[in-house]
C-alpha cells in the first residue's frame, strides 16, 4: 500500500466540502513541517531565494490540494513530493541551476554571529550542489529528511534497490568532496579527528 497519495487514492478518497478539508490537524501539520521543508528546499536548490519561492508555491499548492492529502499518511513525504516536482518542472527547466552561494554566505546576517557556522554551511552546500541530482535527492530525502526507502523510491519513480545504490554513491561522492576519509588512510584513530583535520586543512 502506498504511503503517499497516488492517483488511485485520490479518486477513491471521500470528497468533503472544501472548508472542512483544511482541518486544524492539517494546518498544524503543515506549519510544523515548514522549517524542515525549507532546509530541504535550500539544500535542493542551493539558494535561499529560490528555496523561499519554492516554499511559497508548495504551501499554496498544498493548501489548495488539501483534499488530496490522506490524514494519517506522511505529510512530509507529501510536501517533499510537491516541492521537488515544482523545483524540477519550473526551476531546472528555466536553467536556474546556478547555486546562489553568495546568498548562503550572506546568510550570516540572519544567523547568530558565528562566522564559522555560515562558512561551513556554504562550503557544505557547494559540495551538495556538485552531486548529480539523483544522488543529492536521495541523500536529502533519506539521509536528511528521514523519508523511508519505500517513500523515496515512490517519489523518484525507481526501485528501492536503485535508491540504496544511489544513496551509497551519493555518500561516497560527498565524503570525497568533503575530504572525509577512512581513518586508517590518515593513520589516525578516529574518524572525528579525521574530519576535524580535513576541515582545518581547507
Amino acid at each position: 500500500m502506498s504511503v503517499i497519495v497516488t492517483a488511485e487514492a485520490k479518486a477513491t478518497a471521500v470528497k468533503s466540502p472544501p472548508s472542512a478539508d483544511r482541518s486544524a490537524a492539517f494546518r498544524d501539520g503543515l506549519i510544523r513541517e515548514m522549517r524542515d521543508l525549507r532546509a530541504f528546499a535550500v539544500s535542493l536548490s542551493g539558494s535561499f531565494h529560490v528555496a523561499d519561492d519554492l516554499l511559497q508555491e508548495t504551501l499554496l499548492k498544498a493548501w489548495s490540494n488539501a483534499d488530496s492529502f490522506i490524514p494519517g499518511t506522511n505529510m512530509r513525504a507529501w510536501l517533499v513530493t510537491i516541492l521537488r516536482n515544482t523545483y524540477y518542472s519550473q526551476y531546472r527547466k528555466r536553467g536556474r541551476e546556478v547555486s546562489d552561494t553568495d546568498g548562503i554566505y550572506s546568510s550570516r546576517l540572519a544567523t547568530p554571529p558565528n562566522q564559522e557556522a555560515s562558512v561551513d554551511m556554504a562550503d557544505f552546500q557547494v559540495a551538495l550542489s556538485k552531486l548529480a541530482p539523483e544522488h543529492r535527492d536521495v541523500l536529502l530525502m533519506v539521509g536528511a529528511s528521514g523519508l523511508s526507502y519505500e517513500e523515496t523510491a515512490e517519489i523518484c519513480g525507481v526501485a528501492i534497490g536503485t535508491i540504496k545504490s544511489r544513496l551509497n554513491r551519493a555518500r561516497a561522492k560527498l565524503a570525497d568532496l568533503l575530504g572525509i576519509k577512512e581513518a586508517s588512510d590518515l593513520g589516525m584513530g578516529s574518524v572525528s579527528e579525521a574530519v576535524v583535520r580535513t576541515q582545518s586543512a581547507g
Binding site: S19, R35, F40, D52, G143, S165, R169, A172
Partner: protein, 74 residues
C-alpha cells in the same frame, strides 16, 4: 626488504558502472564510520537551516491563508 608491499584487505573491485537491484554494492564499499560522518555532517547542515526562523513572507502567507479559512468557515 621483505613484505614491504602488502595487499590491503580484500575489497571487491569498484563496479561503479553497475547498479544492481538489491543495491548492496552501489559501486563503493564505504566504511560505517565514513557513512556516519557524512550523515552527521548532512544532518548538521539541515539543522542549521531549519533552526532559522521562517522568512516574513512565508509567515504572512500562512496568516493570510488562515484568515481566508476562518472567513470561509463563518
Amino acid at each position: 626488504m621483505s613484505g614491504a608491499f602488502r595487499q590491503s584487505s580484500a575489497h571487491a573491485p569498484d563496479s561503479s558502472s553497475l547498479e544492481d537491484e538489491d543495491g548492496q554494492e552501489g559501486g563503493a564499499n564505504l566504511s560505517p564510520l565514513v557513512v556516519e560522518a557524512v550523515g552527521k555532517a548532512l544532518q548538521a547542515h539541515f539543522r542549521a537551516i531549519s533552526d532559522m526562523p521562517l522568512p516574513d513572507r512565508l509567515l504572512v502567507l500562512l496568516a493570510e491563508l488562515e484568515a481566508r479559512e476562518r472567513n470561509s468557515d463563518s
